[in-house]
């Protein structure tokens, strides 16, 4: 009897060790995935890094037929779409954060708005792209005819609008949490001194949450830079860079993600493929750095 119990606990002990090792193994697996992603991207973009050098990043011509590769048009396209989208989205995400964090934190109306914002994040990007292609593009085209701009319909402007809608939830939901964390004695103190609601928000709530809200903006930017499908469907996919600013904003263009999505399966020689992967590598680095900075700020903010 005694012996049997001992054996059983030996078996249990074995399982316990196996289980603990399994836990460690899965965490190591995460490290391996990230290292694997990084090494794969670097190795596969080696041919392009070697033969095109750093000048690849500001090469203005992308012509796979002539074997000329320059990433400049896509860098510009990505930066423009993301920043325009960001600028459009900021008033909305700040307004949602202030309204749900400060004016109306409880009740059915605030629940409804909060759920709506979450739904916006839930809708797949392909559906935004599809809707944009069939509803927004014709609308923009009519507007462009009215203002005597070449009526492409697709382009950076259209893509930015849809992108803005898609990234609003990221900044907003973080902002709500942060604004609710503002200690009420601070606000009450300001009210007691006779400040109006607007003054409390501007002089107490905003300065207190500024870094956190900035982190929210960074996270939305990270989303916007890497967003693929909706942008691919709306940007028009032209690798040539427009001459005038007006054509650049309202004419077709390309982003890093959209050129990868469009050309990766068609790329037929090594340099072409690896030039596309180098774009992926750049995209990976930029989004990772932006995300990590954003997360770091949030952790510091919530710990204080």
């Amino acid at each position: 009897m005694e012996n049997k119990r001992l054996e059983l606990s030996d078996g249990q002990l074995k399982w316990e060790t196996i289980f603990k090792r399994l836990l460690i193994a899965m965490s190591v697996l995460l490290l391996l995935i990230i290292l694997g992603v990084l090494t794969t991207l670097i190795i596969e973009s080696m041919p392009s890094i070697k033969s095109l050098g750093i000048g690849y990043l500001w090469g203005k011509v992308w012509d796979p037929v002539q074997n000329i590769y320059g990433a400049y048009p896509f860098l510009i396209g990505t930066l423009l779409t993301s920043f325009i989208a960001l600028i459009i989205s900021i008033p909305f995400s700040y307004a949602i954060a202030i309204y749900l964090g400060e004016y109306n934190p409880k009740g059915w109306l605030s629940d409804l708005l909060k759920n709506t914002v979450e739904l916006i994040a839930a809708v797949p990007s392909i559906i935004y792209g599809f809707w944009g292609l069939f509803v927004l593009v014709p609308l923009v085209r009519t507007l462009e005819i009215k203002f005597h701009i070449l009526p492409y319909g697709v382009g950076i402007f259209t893509a930015s609008i849809v992108l803005a809608v898609m990234i609003i939830p990221y900044g907003a939901s973080l902002g709500i949490t942060l604004i609710r964390m503002v200690p009420s004695p601070l606000k009450e103190g300001a009210y007691a001194l006779g400040a109006t609601r607007f003054e409390v928000i501007r002089n107490v709530v905003m300065p207190y949450t500024r870094t956190g809200l900035f982190a929210g903006v960074l996270l939305s930017l990270g989303r916007a830079l890497g967003e693929t499908m909706a942008v691919t469907m709306l940007i028009g996919n032209t690798s040539a860079i427009a001459n005038t600013f007006k054509d650049l904003i309202f004419g077709p263009s390309n982003t890093m993600a959209s050129v990868i999505a469009n050309e990766f399966t068609e790329a037929d020689h090594t340099l072409y493929v690896s030039a596309l992967i180098e774009l992926g590598l750049v995209l990976f680095f930029v989004t990772v750095i932006i995300n990590l900075i954003g997360k770091r700020i949030i952790t510091r903010f919530t710990n204080n």
């Binding site: 399982w15 392909i126 469907m233 992926g280």
Partner: protein
């Protein structure tokens, strides 16, 4: 100097008006998009649509059965891989905070969450598609599994951290081995929270197109072979939406409606599950 209280109050009210205007304006695009998809899609969906493969351009009828089955298979396969891995990694992170490994894997989860989905597609192309010699459903599932991991890990970690330590200590003091404490006490207690992470991750990846472009590719025919290209709902929408045929656009609207239905249902389920657990996903 200081403005009169009247003007300051008016300023405050104006600001409130602006905030409310912008906060509620955002519901407009969502309502417009949802109504448009429902209007265009609901007339397409019927039994024939759900059980037939797409018709060639120019022919009426046809459906999305290949995409439905394909999405189902790939998401199932991805879940089978991602759920155990994600849960175990999440348990490690919540059980061993402060260790070096936990710090670096936590960092990796953050990185993974920010990786653009198209980059995941490229990487899985080199990991799976090239060695296997062709686009396959397996490759698609692996790409989706990688996308699911961070959400499952974070929800597991956060749920388990909310549980009181006394629960674990009580079980351990009764002489229950560690793995049984975790599997029989801790996980059942945090089950709803973990499940919400799983449903949310499924809702996320079921609409992902970018990682599937270079992995599962797409397939016009009905296929359940895991080593062959497979169609999926988001991919069918992408190909048909960008095609020049009106019949195919109709198919894409129908497919969008079905996809949206799935995503919204999964999100509502998540919502109901997280009501009990105050976790941030």
């Amino acid at each position: 100097m200081e403005a009169k209280i009247g003007t300051r109050n008016v300023k405050s009210l104006i600001f409130k008006g602006i905030v409310i205007f912008f906060a509620f304006l955002i519901t407009l695009p969502l309502i417009i998009i949802l109504l448009y998809i429902i209007k265009q899609g609901v007339t397409q969906v019927n039994w024939h649509f759900l059980t037939h493969v797409p018709a060639p351009p120019g022919e009426k009828g046809g459906g999305i059965s290949n995409a439905l089955v394909g999405s189902f298979i790939m998401v199932m396969l991805a879940s089978v891989v991602a759920i155990p891995v994600g849960m175990l990694a999440g348990i490690y992170l919540s059980e061993n905070p402060g260790t070096k490994l936990a710090y670096y894997s936590g960092l990796c989860v953050d990185i993974l969450q920010g990786v653009p989905s198209i980059v995941v597609g490229i990487v899985v192309y080199f990991w799976v598609v090239k060695p296997l010699g062709g686009f396959s459903a397996i490759a698609g599932s692996i790409a989706l599994a990688i996308m699911m991991l961070p959400i499952i890990i974070r929800s597991t970690e956060q749920t388990l951290k909310l549980l009181p330590d006394s629960l674990k200590e009580a079980a351990l003091s009764l002489g229950v081995p560690y793995h049984r404490v975790i599997l029989k006490v801790i996980i059942p207690c945090g089950f709803a929270g973990i499940l919400s992470g799983i449903t949310l991750s499924i809702a996320r990846v079921i609409g992902e197109t970018a990682p599937l472009l270079f992995t599962a590719l797409g397939n016009n025919f009905f296929s359940t072979t895991l080593t062959k290209p497979m169609e999926s709902l988001p991919h069918v929408i992408f190909t048909y939406a960008t095609s020049p045929y009106d019949d195919w656009h109709d198919l894409a609207w129908g497919a969008s409606f079905v996809l949206l239905l799935f995503v919204l249902t999964l999100n509502i389920v998540t919502k109901l599950l997280t009501r009990k657990w105050k976790i941030q996903l």
